[in-house]
Symmetry: D5
Subunit: 92 residues, 10 copies
């Protein structure tokens, strides 16, 4: 089942630059894994913000939560999830 | 997968009372079927409004849409759907 | 350039059923054309609503407007458009 | 009387991990007690957030407040409560 | 249990004046009954609007809904209900 | 003249417990005085929040401001005030 | 006591032009009376809208409601009222 | 002084096509005049909507209102106006 | 040209009391100057908040910004500005 | 393609004045470069706020993001971007 997921990351001002970059690297690797599993299908940037919109495909919202919570920056992320129904024009 | 679904029904003023009551009867029957299928689990009234909140359980959002669209008053209903993830305390 | 487009269609109550169905057929055909042009990439239903979310790819917002305005039900549609920036992880 | 209760927990960044885990354990135990009393009926996670939606059953809003305030993480929780009326289809 | 209830009444433009006045009279009588039962405690007007805020006392939200639905103008009323918990300073 | 006043108190995390309790005691005493003056008529808790709704009666909004500002926790309180007009059914 | 009052007037499309103009004339006369009584102090237009913001001075919200309800276009007006407290710099 | 003005035009469904087109022609002509006067500087379409955003330059909000009210479709237009201050980087 | 200006001041908790009072004094003096220049016409308190609503008269929004920015507490103030058009009933 | 971009800058209270001024200088220089490239066309101040509205012209939202992210104060800026379609009256 597909979901549209917006997340905005606000790392605390007090976090040292090195830690921020480490976290970014881990995020990229984890996102890569989620792509290879077919869980993360597409990712876009919201222009001008430290926010992204992603198209995710998981069994249900519980598995989606676990996938999102596995992202290293999850504790500093504001997430909204929207469930998507397949459109008749795309039903195989 | 469980969903929390709010719907507010606004039948047009011009609809005759007999038609309204016929529709209400059909709604009740259809809801009964959905309950017996295990699709509609709980239903509450929002006090003071012609609105209800329901706990639904369907394979995914596509099946949920089909179930909601099968309700006779669907064309006059304003619906918002919220996907629910199972809480760890309720994971069997 | 990609856009996320939400549209909710509210045909007037007074529109005869035959006209509604004619319009739906025309919409489906036009959407099919837009897909074949690579303008409309994906389409999802918002569960429980007469609303869809689409992923569109056009040269710019002006071309997007023209594509949306070419849909037969456009005069009765409430549309919000969100510009998407390519995410570094998807930049070829 | 049943209530739908949303709560989002935001523990301060400065709280040590050990204290967070201690608090989580206490929350789980207290929630267990509330379930056994029949006060907390169902609990769902809002996918992607440190937020839950719960179905509660208490004598009235005053008892509900006391039950919510008894949760260890209450001082760091943002709560919205919605009163639910029994739907005619569920009136015994 | 006490509730704060806001309601805004929008009678259709097409309703004849005589019917409006008849409805107003019935509303006043019904409100008087609800007061004498101790269900409706206080009523204020929102200045400048055809809206009122009322302090209601009923067993629960289900009984509140039935009391509100018994008001003759209910079909044309937009209602929001807020559950109130007794403040410690007012607990006898 | 009557006002409906909502206030949500957010004491800073850094405030020691002893100071919080001292402040609560002063609040209770001041509220008691305002009740005896007939300025504060009723007080309810918003279930689940550190927020209250009060029914106040003062000469005008200026006197209301002074009464609210006299509450010890005022500097940490988020207040919204709503002017109430007497309902014809309650006009002596 | 002073109030800031916004009102937006939406006369029904079906109202004949002659009736609109008659109503406008009556509004102007009534506003003039309210000015001469010292009830309506200032009036501004919200640029681009059929809406005005007014500074009113009445004994309380009840008298304000009666003054607003005395305006001929009141049945078609959407009003929001904000109570104003005298600023210390303007307290004589 | 410059203003950013959004307007969304909703012509009633009942307006005949011929009248709509006549109105559109008049709008275009009037807009052309406002451009030549230097009152209307730029005009953009909000993609997907019957809405435009314009950059206007008038002596003040009163003159802006008169210019907007001079547009033939003004009675069916929902307008929001935002005052703009000159940025230091653009102060000659 | 007249503007309605709301501002809410939130001085940081860490600011010593002496500095707060110094700032308040400077604000009062600056406001007095703006009054004598005819820039600040009226000032009201929003009851219950550290917020004020002011009626300002400046050549345009650029001069208004400079006047607002000249207030000592400006860096800690949240401001919204609304342009006002002169009402026909007040046009000399 | 043109975009309307709002940004509000909130530098942390803890940032020393010297660093703030350094940053402002860098912002001004970078804005100048963006102007000379034809990327930043117009810039206005939102009166009373540390916020600006800009008219930008870039190939697409991806290039817009990169341009915005190149501004030195970007990490402390809250940005919303609105895609603009060319109005028929301005299509060459």
């Amino acid at each position: 089942m597909e979901f549209l997921v917006r997340f905005e990351t606000n790392l605390p001002d007090t976090m040292p630059v090195a830690e921020r970059n480490r976290l970014k690297g881990l995020e990229r690797d984890r996102a890569q894994q989620l792509r290879s599993e077919g869980t993360l299908l597409r990712l876009w940037r919201v222009p001008g913000r430290r926010a992204v919109i992603g198209l995710w495909d998981t069994a249900d919202a519980t598995h989606l939560h676990d996938a999102l919570a596995s992202l290293p920056a999850f504790p500093w992320t504001d997430v909204t999830v929207e469930a998507l129904a397949t459109h008749p024009q795309e039903q195989r």
